[in-house]
Amino acid sequence: MAEEKYNLQPDSFEPLAQDQDQELDSEKIAAPSLTFSQDAWRRLKKNKGALISLFIVLIMAIVSFGSTPFINHSELVKSNPEYANLPAKIPGVNINGLNGKMKVSGVWTDVYKENGIKDNVHFMLGTDYLGHSLAQRIIYGTKISLTVAIVATLFDLLIGVTYGIVSGWKGGRTDNVMQRIIEIISSIPNLIIVVLMLIIFKPGMTSIILALAISEWTTMARMIRAETLSLKTEEYVLAARTLGESTTKIAWKHLVPNVSSIIIIQTMYTIPTAIFFEAFLSFIGIGISAPQTSLGVLLNDGQKNFQFLPYQMWYPAIVLVILMIAFNLLGDGLRDAFDPRTRR
C-alpha cells in the first residue's frame, strides 16, 4: 500500500489516555430501555395511519357517547313529520346539496322552501322519514353500533380468553374435548346461530349482543389456546409452577399479560366485524328496534330511498366506512406494533 501523507504529530503514537479510552469503550445505547407496551406504543406512534385512526375512533367514541345527555329517549321518540326528508342545510354554506337544495327529478330544488319551512330551521345533515335530524340519528346510531360491538366483543373476550386459557393450560383430554366442541361450533355458520337466536328472543340490542358474543368467540379461544400452549413451556411459567403458585394466579399474572397483545389486536378486528354484522341483521330486518337506531338501521333505511334521497344512505355509509377503516388500520397498526416481525 502506498504510504500517503498523514498528518503525523510527534505525540501521535502516545497511548490514548485511559479515561478517553474508557469513554470510547463504553457501550453507547442510544435509546433508554422500554417496557414491552412502551415499546409498542413507540412503534404505534410511528405509524401515522394507525395514529390518525386511533384519533378518529376516540373522537367518534367521545362524540357519540358524550351525546348521551343530549340525545335521550324522549328526544329520540319525538317525531316531526312536517320536517320529513329534508336535505342538509348548513347555515352560511351555499353549496348545492348542503344548502337545503336537492335534485328532484334532475332539478336542484329548495326543499325547505317547497315544504314551507321557516328560514331559521337548519338540519346539518338533513332529516329522515319522520323528521328526525339525521345528524342526531347518526351520532346516536354510532353510539349504539359501538355499544353493540364493544359489549359483544367484551363477552367474546371473556368467553374466548377463559376458554382458550383453560383449554391450553389443562391440555390432554380436556383440551381435546374442548377443541372438538370448538370445531363443531365453528362448523355452524355464525349467521345461523344469530338468526336462530333472534327468532327466538325478542329482537333488540340485548339479543344482538348475546347472539354476536355466542357466535364469535371461537376465533379468540383458538388463538389464546395456541398462545397458552406455547407459553406453558416458557421457563418463567415453569418456574412459577415449580414454586407452587396456584394455577389461577399463574394464569392471571403470567398468561393474561402475555396474551394481551393478541387480545387487543383481535379486539380491534372483532369490533368492526360486529358492527358489520349488526348492520347486516338490520338489513334482513332483525336488528335494533325503534326508537333506537344504529348505523345499520340507518343504512338500511337509506338504501331503500337511494334513488330519491341519496344523502340518507351516503351520510351513515360514510360514517360507517370511516369507522371501519379506522378500526382496521388501528388493528393493523397494533399488530405491527406488538409484533415487529410482521412489519415490512
Partner: protein, 309 residues
Amino acid sequence: MKKYLLKRVLYMALTLFLVATITFFLMKLMPGTPYSNQEKMTPQQIKIMNQQYGLDKPIWLQYVIYIFGMLHGDLGTSFQFSNQPVSYLISSRIGASAQLGVQAMIFGVVLGIIVGSVAAIYRNTWVDTTATVLSIIGKSVPNFVLAVLLQYYISLKLGWFPIADWGGFSYTVLPTIALGVGPLAETARFIRTGMVDVLNSDYIELARAKGLNKFGIIYHHALRNSLIPLVTLIGPYTVALMTGSMVIENIFSIPGIGEQYVKSIQTNDYPTIMGVTMLFCFGLVLIILFTDIIYGIIDPRIRLTGNED
C-alpha cells in the same frame, strides 16, 4: 389417510346431528303453526291438518321422524308454500346461489391474489399503498350498500348490466362483484402479508442466487408458498358468501337460497328455516373438510395423520 377421513366424516355427522337437534327443538319452542287462518278453521280441520303435518305426535317422535326423514333427504313440507317439499324448494334454488357463490369466490380470490401479489412485489411504493387502502375500503363497505350503488350507477345510470333478475351471464356480473369484493379485499390483504414474508425468506434469496428471473421466482416459489395458506380462508369465505347471498339475492331479485332463507325467516316457515340451516351447515362442514384435505395435498409439510403411502 383413510383413518383420518373416517374420523373427520364422523365429526361431520356429529356436528350436523347436533345442529339438527338444536334447530329442531328451537323451532318447536317457537309460536305458530303452518296455518295462518287457524281461527277460521274447524277443530276437525285442524286435527286432520296436524295429522298431515305430523304435528299430532309427541315432540320426541316428531324429532325422530324428522331425523330419519333427513337421512333420506326429506326435510318436510314448507309452511309457506303449500305442498312444496322443502327439499324441492332448496334444489330448485340452489343452482343460482351456487353459481353466484362460485363466481364471487373466483372473482374475489383471483383478483385478490393479483392485487395482493402486486402490492407485495412493489411493497412500500404507491402501488402498495393504493392496493392496501382499496382493500381496506373494500372490507369496510357493507355489501348491500355496494349492491345498491352498483345497481344505481352501473345499471340504471350507465346501463351496462341488467338491473335485476336472473338469466344469462350478464345478470350475474353485478351481484358477483357485490358479493366478491369482501373476499377480494380479504384475499389481497392476506396474500400481501404472506407474500412479503415469503419474499423475505431465505429460499427466495436462494432462488435469486440461482439466477432465476423475477417472474420465475414469483411464479415458481413465492406464489405457491403464499397461496397455500389461502386455502384455510375458503371456509370463512363460504360463510361470508352465504351471509352475503341473503341480501344480494334480495336486491338483485335472484331466485337463490339466501333469499329463500330471509323469506322463510320473515314468514316463520320453520321447516324451510331448518332445511336451509341444515344445508348451510352441511355445505360449510363439507367445505372445511374439503379444504383440510386440499391443504394436506398441496402443502407437503402437512401430512394427514395415518398416511401410509
